[in-house]
């Protein structure tokens, strides 16, 4: 049901993009106006979201880590899994962002006859996520050839490396295969395991389906329904120089592709996709575990309430305590 809803939603977006692209003036709308709007919404609400997170106080270092914390000198500390310094945190964050280390530690729980509960390692999510995210990155970086003029050597080299198989013409990109593979695997994971299907919502399926539709329209456009890439590049460079133009025929499919990308940009800051910014703000990843070395003030403490030591407490209640025969430290 939730799967169906997500698919129908994306199909509806495809239809909207298609209809707008064939009505007069619609191409100018999708090509010249919508990208700016979508990009502005994306940037603005991305920042709003991050600032909103930054406003929540974190009272204490949260050491949910997978390694030995810094302790006595002869106990070996796990420096990157349980860092006590900023340098260690930076390494942990880099490993998290580039290697998805916390997904690598994913576990599964199963009931066996007995009954007893068994925990085991589960690396699928880590593998599927790596496949998908790196393909997406490569596809987006390669797209810069449409926005930059002249095209930097690095982007050109990336395209060359991605197309090194030299099959088909225009040449097949490996990342086109792997992005679809990654999406199908991530989607399949939600369908196949009953526990995961149970907790999956429309906003878990929808982004996968939307990105799938974007990738499919792009792949169709490259290998089957070919539009005029030179015209499209003129539009894209025009967008990046604030002089958007519609220089000629570009094919309806291109506008559907672009419309879906704009939808993704607008959807992004309001959805779980914000984990792109959120990963840097996750307290269990970005805080050094130095609770035992540094004093952390609780940020929502009322500054008017002064600390009250035991000595002070005793001073205040000494007489009463003595009357009740409670031992005191100072007579």
């Amino acid at each position: 049901m939730k799967v169906l809803q997500s698919v129908l939603l994306v199909l509806a977006l495809v239809v909207v993009g298609f209809v707008v692209a064939i009505i007069p003036g619609g191409q100018a709308l999708i090509g010249k106006v919508l990208p700016y709007l979508a990009f502005a919404v994306f940037l603005l609400f991305f920042i709003v979201k991050v600032v909103g997170w930054a406003k929540s106080p974190v009272p204490f270092r949260i050491p949910t880590t997978a390694g030995q914390e810094k302790s006595l000198p002869w106990v070996k500390q796990s420096r990157f899994d349980n860092p006590s310094t900023t340098g260690g945190v930076i390494v942990r964050m880099l490993l998290e962002v580039t290697m998805f280390r916390s997904l690598f530690r994913n576990t599964k729980a199963e009931m066996h006859d007995g009954p007893y509960l068994a925990h085991g390692s589960s690396k699928y999510l880590w593998l599927f996520a790596l496949i998908f995210h790196y393909s997406f990155l490569v596809v987006v970086l390669r797209h810069l050839r449409l926005f930059l003029n002249p095209v930097p050597g690095l982007i050109q080299a990336l395209g060359g490396a991605d197309g090194f198989l030299q099959v088909l013409s225009p040449g097949l990109y490996i990342s086109d295969l792997t992005i679809v593979l990654g999406l199908v695997l991530l989607f399949g994971r939600r369908l196949v395991r009953p526990q995961i299907r149970y907790i999956s919502l429309v906003n878990d399926y929808f982004p996968l389906v939307l990105i799938f539709a974007i990738a499919t329209s792009g792949i169709l456009m490259r290998y089957i329904i070919r539009p005029d890439i030179i015209n499209i590049k003129q539009l894209a460079v025009g967008l990046a120089t604030f002089h958007p133009v519609i220089p000629g025929e570009m094919g309806t499919i291109f506008f559907v592709h672009l419309f879906l990308v704009c939808c993704l940009l607008v959807y992004f800051p309001f959805s779980k996709l914000m984990h792109m910014g959120g990963v840097f703000l996750s307290p269990t990843r970005n805080m050094a575990n130095n609770n035992r070395m540094v004093h952390h003030d609780n940020p929502w403490n009322d500054p008017a309430i002064k600390p009250h030591s035991y000595a002070g407490y005793e001073d205040e209640f000494r007489e009463v305590m003595k009357e009740a025969e409670i031992p005191v430290e100072k007579e």
Partner: protein, 126 residues
């Protein structure tokens, strides 16, 4: 807001990366390709729009058809001009300069067909 010293620079870096294409182009759309029209011919093997969109598929289809499926080596344009279905003896007989024609667009779109690893482009006149 907490940790301003880290979060604000982080956001600035993010925005700079996001708008980097705008910064890179500096408002200059650059050179727009202007492929040289052949002087010795009036029309291409297919309508111009179709050529612009799909010539990359067409050349590889010719290759497959001619070399692997024993297809015809020659064909005629809509206007009745005979041409050879070949990269060197076809396209490059009318479009006599690779640099002034094919490369004009290909540099712009950042494609480097590997065909020229084996096939020989016509000698550039100047």
């Amino acid at each position: 807001m907490y940790d301003k010293g880290k979060i604000i620079p982080g956001l600035i870096v993010f925005v700079l990366i996001a708008v980097s294409p705008i910064i890179y182009n500096r408002g200059n759309a650059g050179h727009v390709p202007n492929p040289e029209k052949p002087k010795n011919a009036k029309e291409c093997v297919r309508p111009v729009a179709e050529m612009r969109e799909s010539h990359m598929q067409m050349v590889i289809d010719w290759r497959t058809d001619v070399i692997r499926d024993n297809g015809a080596r020659e064909a005629v344009t809509a206007g009745g001009v005979k041409y050879v279905r070949s990269l060197q003896l076809g396209c490059m007989k009318c479009h006599t300069s690779k640099q002034k024609f094919c490369d004009e667009c290909h540099k712009y779109a950042s494609v480097e067909p590997y065909c020229w690893d084996c096939h020989i482009a016509p000698e550039e006149k100047d």
